[in-house]
């Protein structure tokens, strides 16, 4: 492996090197060197000093004072002109770029409001509405539904230790689920795969169904998880349809698997053709095919294992391989002791 520590040590201390290429002349001729700043505005002309209050900082305070002063005493250039700058109604439109190329922190720490929170803090006036489109088609699109009335539990991988689950249930499903339960409560059961196959329950989380979504934290990276929602009371539990899809949380750190296999893929070969060839019966050597098969296994949920998804939102139609304590029927089964 590459000794990156050593390399970093060798290069990190290197200061700016003198350019070896002769700098070309600046486009349009060289601009003069910086000189002492002088007031840029001529008498009666617009001032170059900041005129709008940034959110924070000394510059903001100064600019804010200047703005307030101008608001009290409009100058000759402003007289007769109706519009005045309003306080920020929305974040600076540059905020998208700043957040994207410099990060979320940069947007938060910008000298003028670039987040909605900063705008809220800076604003003293009611929010201005954007102009309505003229002559536009009123589509009357309404709003998104609260529920689609499906029975679904969907698992999404957020990071190596966090699974996000959301669910949706038909009213009839919920009615039947709660029916006859004495002081019942809802639980999320989290299952992780076992190396030899099968599942183990690794977490039971009490939660409110009304929350509609849940983050399950502190799971082990690199394992495949799925979830179920159970309605339970002292005597029984009921599995709400449907169990979630299974999803792998990413592993972290260097893999313990060290297996230096290389493949030669010529540029002239179409990958789809190459794909077909590595499958059993193709021209590739057995060891290469075995390696690719293992890679696919490491992928765990590589394309193809999911199958199509038109059949319904969320998890599989039935609980896979019957984890301990999980009823095979959505409505049956006694509570696990």
């Amino acid at each position: 492996m590459v000794d990156r520590k050593k390399k970093t040590a060798r290069t990190a201390g290197k200061k700016t090197a003198a350019p070896r290429a002769k700098p070309r002349k600046a486009a349009g001729g060289a601009a003069p060197r910086a000189r002492k700043a002088v007031a840029p505005a001529r008498k009666g002309k617009a001032a170059a000093a900041p005129a709008r209050p940034p959110a924070a900082g000394a510059a903001g305070a100064r600019a804010g004072a200047a703005e307030a002063e101008r608001a009290r005493k409009p100058g000759p250039r402003a007289r007769g002109l109706a519009a005045r700058p309003r306080p920020s109604d929305e974040p600076d439109p540059e905020s998208y770029f700043v957040a994207r190329v410099r990060g979320e922190e940069a947007a938060r720490e910008a000298p003028r409001p670039m987040t909605e929170a900063a705008v809220e803090a800076a604003r003293g006036a009611p929010r201005a509405e954007r102009p309505e489109p003229r002559g536009a088609w009123d589509e009357q699109l309404g709003d998104l539904p609260w529920s689609y009335g499906d029975d679904a539990l969907v698992a999404l991988p957020r990071d190596p230790r966090t699974l996000y689950l959301y669910w949706d249930h038909a009213a009839e499903t919920l009615r039947r689920g709660w029916e006859g339960l004495q002081g019942g409560r809802s639980e999320l059961w989290i299952f992780a795969d076992l190396p030899g196959g099968g599942w183990e329950r690794v977490r039971v989380v009490g939660f409110a169904l009304e929350s509609r979504g849940w983050y399950v934290h502190d799971l082990d990276p690199g394992r495949v998880y799925r979830a179920e929602i159970h309605l339970v009371d002292r005597d029984q539990d009921r599995l709400l349809p449907r169990p979630s899809n299974a999803v792998m949380l990413p592993p972290t750190g260097p893999s313990p698997v060290v297996d230096d296999r290389f493949a030669r893929i010529l540029w002239s070969e179409h990958l789809a053709r190459w794909l077909a060839q590595w499958r059993a019966g193709g021209p590739f050597a057995e060891d290469l095919r075995a390696q690719l098969a293992r890679l696919s296994d490491w992928s765990r949920f590589g394309a193809g294992t999911w199958g199509g998804s038109a059949g319904g939102m969320g998890g599989r139609p039935s609980s896979p391989s019957g984890p301990p304590g999980s009823p095979s029927s959505p409505w049956g089964g006694a509570r696990e002791p």
Binding site: M1, V2, R4, K7, K14, A17, P19, R20, A30, A31, V38, A46, A47, A48, P50, A58, A59, R70, A78, L81, R84, D89, E90, P91, P93, S95, Y96, V98, R100, V101, E104, A106, P111, R112, A128, R134, W137, D143, P157, R158, D159, P160, T162, Y164, G213, N245, P250, P251, G253, V257, R261, F262, W267, L271, L295, W298, G302, T305, A310, G314
Partner: protein, 532 residues
Amino acid sequence: MNREPLGYLSLHLHAHLPFVRHPEFEEFLEEDWLYEAITETYLPLLRVFDRAADEGIPFRLSLTMSPPLVAMLRDDLLVQRYARRLDRLCELADRETHRTRGDPTFHPLAQHYQREFGELRALFHDRYRRDLVAAFRRLEEAGRLELTTCGATHGFLPLMQMFPEAARAQVAVAVAHHRRHFGRDPAGIWLPECGYYPGVDQYLAEQNIRFFFVDTHGITDATPRPRYGVYAPIYTPTGPAAFGRDAESSMQVWSAEHGYPGDPDYREFYRDIGWDLDYEYVRDHVQPTGQRKNVGIKYFRITGKGAHKEPYDPARARERAAQHAGNFMYNREKQIEHLASRMGGVRPIVVAPYDAELYGHWWYEGPTFIDFLIRKVAYDQKVFRLATPGEYLRENPEQQLATPPMSSWGAGGYAGVWLDGSNDWIYRHLHKAAERMIALARDYREPAPLERRALDQAARELLLAQSSDWAFIMKTGTMVEYAIRRTKEHLLRFTRLHDQLRAGRIDEGWLSHVEGKDNIFPEIDFAVYRPA
């Protein structure tokens, strides 16, 4: 005697903007993203590339042209609006030249902008004939750029992995769009947000996409452990190669603390005359609502961390950009020499990907930095050469087999940016729409012409709703209202189309309206969602 280079440097610029087009408004704030990026990034980069190509500089870079960006750059309405915006910018620069006359500090700066905008306008109209996509295409045909595609609408694929047809469609639609605009298949793809999950490589292989990019841990945490770390790509199980971002070269440009763009001599991003000058003077150039905004003329340099700013000196900044290019090159030389000595004859590749809009828009001198860098690399050193990922793979077809983990280049390295309390509400709706779209594609084998139009538009609306930009904006708390509105509008239009199709009552008038408004991907075929 020429010495064979010890390794490669692969510079990749990811050019992308979400699809923002509002014909229903005369002016629309978020369309500024495109106009600003054209003036400050795309035109300046094209100028650098074309000048170097004209002079015979042997440079090679790769560049993402995301489908939404390509669609906007080719949209007549947006191009017209941009041309008008550029005219007004030139007028403002003229006014500034007049206003600052006699001022020894700011008048030369005003003249600098007057010249610059005039030159960009000439490039836009005369050299590029208002078609920047064709300009990038010519550079690819000349062997200077390798253009890669992206997800069709920059959808974050790991969070749609339970709907393989949806992930596949993001790739397939993008490839068809790329082929239509660039006349060839893309050799590579920028997975949106570098979002990889095991299995997505199959959809790339189906389209013969040969490479993609992942963040550093996408390689270092791969299974089996990659022998050469990020300094060689790995072949994923279905064949496409994954190139990993080099943290060291990235930090030199990205880092807020140590990155070049923070140099005191460089132009200060926030001090723009749209905010600095008297309101009445700039009111015709700020937002229609009356709010101030950047107009693109900035007179100060970063100077330091405090509020005090000194006037900007373009010549001094240019000199600094040359120094930084030299420094960047020197560090790559040392890095590649070191790596090559430890890789047993394998030539390392250092992959340095950046958001294209960092160059020029945020870092004003960024295009100049690239200009100096490609010239210096060509003439001032022999340790490495610039190469694109495709070129590297053609020369080095033998690579290790491994599977990257799910990963992204967002904060935290996984899906946390696009899945948190601010935006997790969108997924139940996005997934439901994907499920319905797949079912429509399955059920409508031979649609009538009007049904086909509705189905194709439904596919467009779903794709537009899936853009990762909306979730990103919700997370960062910036233009949240707009992001929510866009997500909802596309989902609601999709839902209405779905319901009308299922009910057998398509409102053709409304459909025409929506086709005109969300007009991306005119070539789309909804059948791309059909289950295998």
